[in-house]
């Protein structure tokens, strides 16, 4: 199913999620057409921008999305290899350079985000493979003087009716002289051999031998290392600095002021880091010097008492709530969160008089290139980005301001040498661009038989889009940021009177999309509150949801599947209880059933059953891995994670103060995929939103206490 056939509302949703949908890109004529290859070659067959076939039979697939763990270096080659009828054992991958021909076919720029890589490449990569296959068959037909329609292709070989064979490598040179087909025919999905199978990831060997090159591993001859002293408070400016000690330390080449702080350039990272720590900076701390998060949340609570900008209004919520037989009010709060990729931010730059080469793990090539060009004072086309493996992304490496790339260009400029800027873990955690803290004030009511009659959600939090290059597109004609309210604005439950209102908080903390974006908090608030409504009249939370989802069969199917596989309603060992949640995000449906126990006020998650409907899927092995990882990501946030500020300073520095779930805390996780022929949906993010509410709802089932604030602290349960 083509992304271009998606409905406009879905575009919008996907774009918001993806951090940057340039909607105009959607309507570019021929956006889905194959771009031509750069360098036609006689010995190598390069029929289009997405693959190369060598005389050695190797098929190299050029991947236009960044590999950050989500499996694009396997899933996109699968799409191409399927239509090429390639030998899977001969497939290699390569990251695409920055070039418009590698733009996301829907977003109109080179970007990895919004859980969109596979669905956006679903036809792009299949078309590329099918076109190459047609040319290889045409080359064989010419060689054998045969009618192409009598030939077939199989596992990297063209075969005729008499079983004569030519490998793709043998045909590469001749195929390069064939005309690309005007039109290609794609396989009937029933004929798929690779798509839909749990093919092993292609990048595993590199990643278990230490050979995979991440940005932090890049080292070119003559390249120096830099570490930057940045502001301790957002928006602070340097008044003066004393680098007298740092300058004389071993290995230090230069200490230079850059817009973001003071950079130490040295022969090695460690020398640069030690010297950086020896710099004394006097800061003008500016407006954020007294900022503290507990005061901010107090302000959010006050703001939530007045109506916000209307996002959605069905029926007459005020009257319905006034006349409800029973009513409940709840305030849910979630904190700022750090993406905390295992690989801290880094960026290597080789800046010359008329060129700039960049090596980094980025999700945002087009935006980064433009920003780097501006910082370097060069035209866009003089800047090239080599995308390395990303040691995790989760949205942090898709920064509209390109902070870590622009800074590295400034450092390289000041250093006058090729340089790699590496952030320490503390630098990375304190560097901003967090998931915004949010507050949801919800009121709901049921009638005498326990059926919901009214619901009003008021959200308070910072906008991600405001102030970015995407604001004018994403927020056009709206008084709110769609990324703030996604997941509550489309509440699927059948409630006749519904209001969703948004307050945009103005706070000087830089915020950004983090895995599942707005859904990371709307999923929590809405799925906890629907549970609270069920609890009002002591209804079973699973059956209560079912009754309200009769018009949403795909929600219902994942909910039923998760409940069935988890044994909903069946007895559990003493002290254990189950919670459930269902949510739609990034074009996919997810439901989770979680089992918990509580000992000495500590919540332990024992088991998570996660069911997904992500439409027509490509690799069920990768999908299971993303569901497992998504649940663990969600559980880490639910149980442990919170960023807090005092006197403008972030209080968390490293893994000991901002913990991630560890092996001994990790539950058993079971995943199930709904068979579907619907168009492909996302998978990197949809597995996150349900985990926190399912855990919170299980805590209620175990203790009778509601969790309304993350991370979960039993002392704060109500």
């Amino acid at each position: 199913m083509s992304a271009l056939q998606m409905k406009r509302r879905e575009f919008l949703r996907v774009s918001v999620a993806a951090s940057g949908g340039l909607l105009i890109g959607l309507y570019l004529p021929g956006a889905n057409q194959l771009a031509a290859a750069d360098e036609p070659s006689s010995t190598v067959f390069m029929p289009n921008a997405f693959l190369r076939i060598g005389t050695d039979n190797r098929v190299t697939v050029i991947v236009n999305h960044s590999e950050m763990g989500q499996g694009v270096y396997t899933a996109l080659p699968m799409l191409l290899a399927e239509e090429l009828d390639a030998d899977w054992n001969k497939i290699a991958y390569e990251s695409a350079p920055v070039d418009p021909k590698y733009n996301h076919p829907v977003f109109g720029m080179q970007i990895t985000g919004g859980s969109s890589s596979v669905w956006s490449g679903f036809e792009q990569y299949r078309n590329a493979g099918a076109a190459a296959r047609a040319m290889l068959i045409a080359a064989a037909a010419q060689q054998w003087n045969a009618d192409p329609s009598t030939l077939r292709a199989e596992s990297g070989v063209v075969i005729d009716g008499t079983n004569r064979k030519l490998t793709y490598g043998q045909l590469a040179e001749a195929a390069a002289k064939m005309k690309p087909p005007e039109k290609v025919t794609l396989k009937d999905p029933k004929a798929f051999k690779l798509i839909g199978t749990p093919v092993k990831r292609l990048d595993t060997p590199e990643k278990i031998s230490g050979k995979a090159v991440f940005g932090i591993d890049v080292k070119n001859s003559g390249m120096l290392s830099a570490v930057v002293a940045r502001a301790p408070v957002f928006g602070a400016k340097i008044k003066s600095f004393d680098d007298s000690r740092a300058r004389n330390m071993p290995g230090v080449r230069k200490v230079v002021a850059v817009p973001s702080g003071v950079a130490v350039v040295a022969d090695s990272f460690w020398q640069a880091k030690v010297a950086r720590d020896a710099i004394r900076i006097d800061w003008d701390e500016g407006a954020m010097h007294a900022f503290n998060t507990s005061q901010m949340m107090q302000q959010f609570r006050e703001q939530a008492k007045s109506p916000g900008k209307s996002v959605r209004r069905d029926g007459d919520p005020d009257a319905a709530l006034a006349n409800a037989a029973q009513k409940i009010e709840a305030v849910y709060e979630v904190p700022y969160l750090s993406h905390l990729m295992m690989e801290p931010l880094n960026c290597a730059v080789d800046l010359r008089a008329d060129s700039c080469e960049i090596w980094t793990g980025t999700q945002f090539q087009t935006v980064d290139r433009a920003a780097a060009a501006k910082a370097a004072g060069l035209p866009n086309e003089k800047v090239q980005i080599h995308t390395t493996f990303l040691g995790g992304g989760f949205g942090r490496r898709a920064t509209p301001q390109s902070d870590f790339v622009v800074e590295a260009v400034h450092v390289a400029k000041a250093a006058g040498a090729p340089v790699k800027v590496v952030w320490t873990r503390e630098d990375d955690m304190q560097g901003g661009w967090y998931r915004p803290a949010f507050l949801h004030a919800i009121v709901g009511g049921v009638d005498a038989s326990g059926n919901p009659v009214g619901w009003r959600s008021r959200l308070v939090g910072q906008s991600i889009m405001a102030g970015t290059m995407f604001e004018s597109i994403m927020m056009k004609g709206k008084e709110y940021d769609p990324a703030s309210v996604e997941g509550v604005d489309d509440l699927p439950y059948e409630i006749p009177n519904l209001a969703v209102e948004s307050h945009q908080a103005e706070v000087g903390v830089p915020v950004q999309w983090l895995r599942s974006v707005g859904h990371s908090h709307t999923g929590f608030a809405t799925e906890c509150f629907i549970d609270e409504l069920a609890g009002l009249t002591h209804k079973d939370p699973y059956q209560f949801r079912r009754a309200l989802l009769t018009k949403h069969p795909r929600h219902l199917a994942v909910l039923d599947l998760a409940a069935e596989k988890a044994g909903w309603g069946k007895p559990l060992p003493q002290g254990r209880a189950r919670g459930i949640a269902v949510h739609f995000a990034f074009e996919s449906y997810n439901a989770q059933v979680v089992e918990v126990s509580i000992t000495d006020g500590k919540v332990r998650v024992h088991r998570i059953v996660s069911a997904v409907d992500c439409g027509h899927y490509v690799n069920p092995g990768i999908i299971a891995a993303q569901l497992e990882g998504g649940a663990i990501f969600g559980a880490s946030a639910a149980l442990f994670q919170e960023l807090t500020f005092e006197r403008g300073r972030l209080q968390q520095t490293n893994f000991h103060t901002f913990p991630v779930m560890r092996m001994n805390e990790c539950p058993e996780i079971e995943t199930h995929i709904v068979e579907s022929n619907e168009k492909s949906g996302g998978i990197g993010e949809p597995g996150v939103p349900c985990t926190a509410p399912a855990i919170a709802n299980a805590v209620f089932a175990a203790t009778g206490k509601r969790i309304r604030k993350l991370p979960i602290r039993m002392t704060e349960a109500v």
Binding site: T204, P205, S209, W270
Partner: protein, 156 residues
């Protein structure tokens, strides 16, 4: 001059002895398979073996390695033949892959000490290695698989 052996090769380096072993491996010796994650022995991405035992190389100064044997991920096997590497492939463990060198080095010592580890043994040995992608369930399965392969005599 500090001398030690890395993956069976003798090295002698002129380097500030207080430099963490991690950065000597990565920058002086070009062995970038060992990763920096936290710098305070919290995440395990920098795990290597020193005379056969796991250490967090981000907090171990290079002087600690003097006269000893260091093994990094690059030395686990020359050809992905270590049972853990084979099991890692079979279970499709890595996602982003950044933490996996450290995970494998911790698991290698576990298997040497406990050829048939229980889930509790795995918790004890692996809890110091963080994976932000959440590959723990697969790491657990892969360790059990590698143990089974070794018991079956499939590998030394």
């Amino acid at each position: 001059l500090i001398s030690f052996s890395v993956n069976g090769q003798h090295v002698s380096l002129e380097v500030d002895p207080s430099t963490p072993l991690l950065w000597v491996l990565r920058e002086n010796l070009g062995l970038t398979g060992t990763k920096y994650g936290c710098g305070i022995a919290q995440c395990g991405a920098c795990t290597v073996h020193l005379d056969g035992e796991t250490i967090r190389s981000c907090v171990a100064s290079v002087s600690r390695a003097a006269g000893k044997e260091v093994t990094t991920i690059e030395g686990l096997s020359p050809d992905l033949s270590h049972p853990l590497q084979r099991a890692w492939i079979a279970e499709d463990v890595p996602q982003c892959g950044y933490c996996q060198s450290g995970q494998l080095m911790s698991a290698a010592v576990l298997l040497r000490e406990k050829p048939r580890p229980s889930d509790e043994d795995i918790d004890d040995a692996m809890t110091g290695n963080i994976c932000r992608c959440g590959t723990y369930p697969r790491i657990r399965k892969a360790i059990h698989r590698a143990a089974a392969m070794m018991t079956a005599g499939g590998a030394k």
